[in-house]
């Protein structure tokens, strides 16, 4: 067992698949000798050679196309977007190309797109985006979003093994803040399974990414201060999402709060609320609430970003209102 940070777990996951599966390659901007903008690929080129871990020019569309081409011939590429934000220059390669290949031609494309996302560190409008709602709208694409070191490694292993394109969202705020003791060898965490990270009966929170620890803080606080016990569900997989666990959480609590760091309108939380309004309506005792970022470009200054991102206290406040509704 050793302590692994969230980003260390991602690095360990890549190291493991590179070692165990010769069809894995890793590429992206500055991922080689430099080890990536966040050092997630540090040491990998040295260990596995330029053939397996390599730099590309600045060309997100060609990078994603290259990954799709590699995958179409049985390789298992892992491509790093330097920031998720830059994937917006090449949405067609995901939505139209990777996402439709199996449906149209029967050829599987096992590719993993690593996309560092999220704010909280003054990245400003172009280095902090949360684009999961856009990615989850694409047929043929899977989307995962770990909140812990264990899940980061496990979902990365699962993404690489998965026969289809998986967008692996990794939260920059958690990179060095999340740590866990983990065994040397990782096992895949199945895609599509949520995890109940705290039990409770007064309400449940459906969340993911950096909002999982924020929510857990809020829940402990409410338990200690208000005697409210809140269930917290870490979705982990956003597409497909774990309908069964979600419905069970609603059934157990009758009150639902959805929390995410992305924009509100047409955000991923809307899908969760719609699911519940359709399939768990009769289980509800209160309106389904969303705590999200407002529809505003991610601001740079701390004063603004602090109110832009949901925090434990905003979440706790919303929970109190929901429970006392």
């Amino acid at each position: 067992m050793r302590e692994m940070t969230y980003i260390g777990a991602i690095q360990a996951g890549m190291e493991q698949v590179l070692r165990e599966d010769p069809s894995v390659v890793v590429f992206g901007q500055d991922v080689g000798g430099f080890g990536g903008a966040f050092k997630a690929t540090e040491g990998l080129q040295k260990q596995f050679g330029e053939d397996r871990v390599f730099d590309t020019p600045i060309c997100e569309s060609a990078m994603l196309g290259l990954a799709l081409g590699l995958a179409s011939q049985g390789m298992r590429p892992i491509v790093e977007m330097q920031f998720a934000d830059f994937a917006t220059t090449a949405i067609h390669q995901l939505l139209n190309n990777a996402g439709t290949m199996h449906y149209r031609t029967g050829v599987s494309a096992s590719m993993t797109v690593r996309a560092p996302c999220g704010g909280g560190m003054g990245g400003g409008p172009f280095h902090s985006e949360e684009l999961e709602a856009i990615f989850c709208h694409m047929p043929g694409i899977k989307v995962v979003y770990p909140a812990t070191s264990a899940d980061a490694r496990g979902l990365l292993l699962a993404a690489v093994q998965d026969p289809d394109p998986v967008i692996f969202l990794e939260n920059k705020y958690l990179y060095r803040r999340e740590k866990q003791l983990l065994p040397k060898h990782g096992d895949p965490v199945p895609i599509g399974q949520a995890s109940v990270v705290r039990n409770g009966y007064d309400a449940c929170v459906l969340t993911y990414g950096a909002m999982v620890p924020e929510t857990l803080h809020a829940a402990s606080h409410l338990s200690a201060e208000e005697n409210y016990e809140v269930m917290v569900v870490d979705l982990r997989s956003l597409k497909p999402y774990d309908e069964e666990t979600i419905i069970a959480a609603v059934a157990a609590t009758s009150r639902v709060l959805i929390v995410h760091e992305g924009w509100r309108t047409c955000g991923f939380g809307a899908e969760l609320a719609a699911l519940i309004a359709e399939k768990a309506f009769h289980l509800l005792d209160a309106p389904v609430r969303r705590v999200t970022a407002p529809d505003v470009p991610v601001p740079f200054a701390r004063e603004l970003e602090d109110v832009y991102r949901p925090h434990a206290d905003t979440i706790a406040q919303a929970l109190i209102e929901l429970i006392e509704f």
């Binding site: 081409g69 011939q73 026969p163």
Partner: protein, 331 residues
């Protein structure tokens, strides 16, 4: 290097190659003509995008390819599909949206490929397939060494960011792809002088640090022999090559397009330079074919194509219950 004494080299192309090339071009032409007829009869949804007048390019590429090579055809490359494993019935199935077709009715017209024959199914977004092809070539060369790629793009597609990103990437990584620009004077209604300002598109080769050449894309012998040299070269010394083929789109963008904007002089010029005509002329002067033999070929192919279209028309379309199958591999 590529331009010297093409004539002599063309003369040296052997009879078997000539006749395979002619047959492939005629097969493509007749299939296109049939597709056009079906469209105007209302049998085909959407539109039909013909390769007519540009057949020499796809045919020559196919004849210069090895079994393990990979292709990324674009809008006007019916000879590639027909030369890499599909027969006319597959083409009709595709256009008619039949279950037994390449995309099982899920996509139409030119958006199909043949994985078994190393042919990628293009997406519409022009330029997007060049990097995909590059990835495929990269993957295969890790296993089998000798694969090269054949990419096809129109003059209009060269304006896309995707073309540029992929060209630059394959140049930096020495990925052996023969990038073929079929410059057919138009991108939909847009003539080339509103598409780019350089003299010739091959002028872009320098900026990627790759070799390039501009050739007469309607001269089957020249196309064949030029590609032959390039293919041998990049197969042994892997790197991209930019080959611009001058040609002409002889019909509207699709059959829905009246083509009213076409400059008559261009149509006349390229009618005279029709690649099938040129092949027949060349073969005749070399004593490789007679009018009778050619007419017999046309008849045979016409019959084959008619029969294929009849067969495809009679086949069932997809079962609506399969709509959601196969969006993912295991579902």
């Amino acid at each position: 290097m590529w331009t010297d004494d093409i004539a002599a080299k063309v003369a040296a192309v052997d009879a078997a190659v000539w006749s395979r090339m002619l047959e492939l071009m005629v097969l493509s032409r007749k299939t296109d003509e049939r597709l056009i007829k079906l469209y105007h009869q209302g049998a085909i949804r959407g539109s039909v995008f013909a390769s007519i007048g540009q057949e020499a390019i796809g045919a020559a590429a196919v004849l210069n390819s090895a079994a393990d090579d990979l292709f990324a055809p674009c809008i006007r490359d019916l000879p590639v599909h027909l030369g890499r494993g599909y027969s006319p019935v597959d083409i009709f199935r595709q256009a008619l949206g039949k279950t037994a077709g390449p995309t099982r009715g899920r996509d139409g017209n030119i958006h199909y490929g043949n994985p078994g024959g190393g042919v990628y199914a293009m997406i519409s977004h022009l330029g997007a397939m060049l990097s995909v092809l590059a990835g495929g070539v990269m993957a295969r060369r890790r296993r089998r060494e000798k694969t090269i790629g054949f990419a096809f793009l129109g003059d209009g597609a060269t304006s896309t960011g995707d073309f540029h990103e992929a060209m630059n990437l394959i140049a930096v990584r020495d990925i052996p792809v023969l990038v073929i620009i079929e410059n057919n004077h138009y991108a939909y209604s847009t003539p080339t002088h509103r598409q780019y300002r350089c003299e010739n598109l091959v002028d872009r080769a320098l900026g990627y640090g790759v070799d390039g050449l501009l050739i007469d894309g309607n001269n089957p012998g020249e196309v064949y022999i030029t590609m032959k040299d390039i293919v041998e070269d990049i197969r042994s010394r892997p790197r991209p090559f930019l080959l611009e083929c001058d040609t002409m789109r002889m019909r509207g963008h699709g059959e829905h397009d009246s083509f009213a904007y076409a400059v008559p002089r261009l149509i006349q010029k390229y009618t005279r330079r029709d690649p099938i005509r040129m092949a027949v002329r060349g073969m005749k002067s070399a004593g490789l074919i007679t009018d009778e033999v050619y007419e017999a070929l046309e008849k045979r192919v016409e019959a084959e194509v008619r029969e294929a279209s009849r067969q495809a028309l009679a086949e069932p379309g997809p079962d609506p219950a399969t709509l959601c199958d196969g969006v993912y591999t295991d579902a």
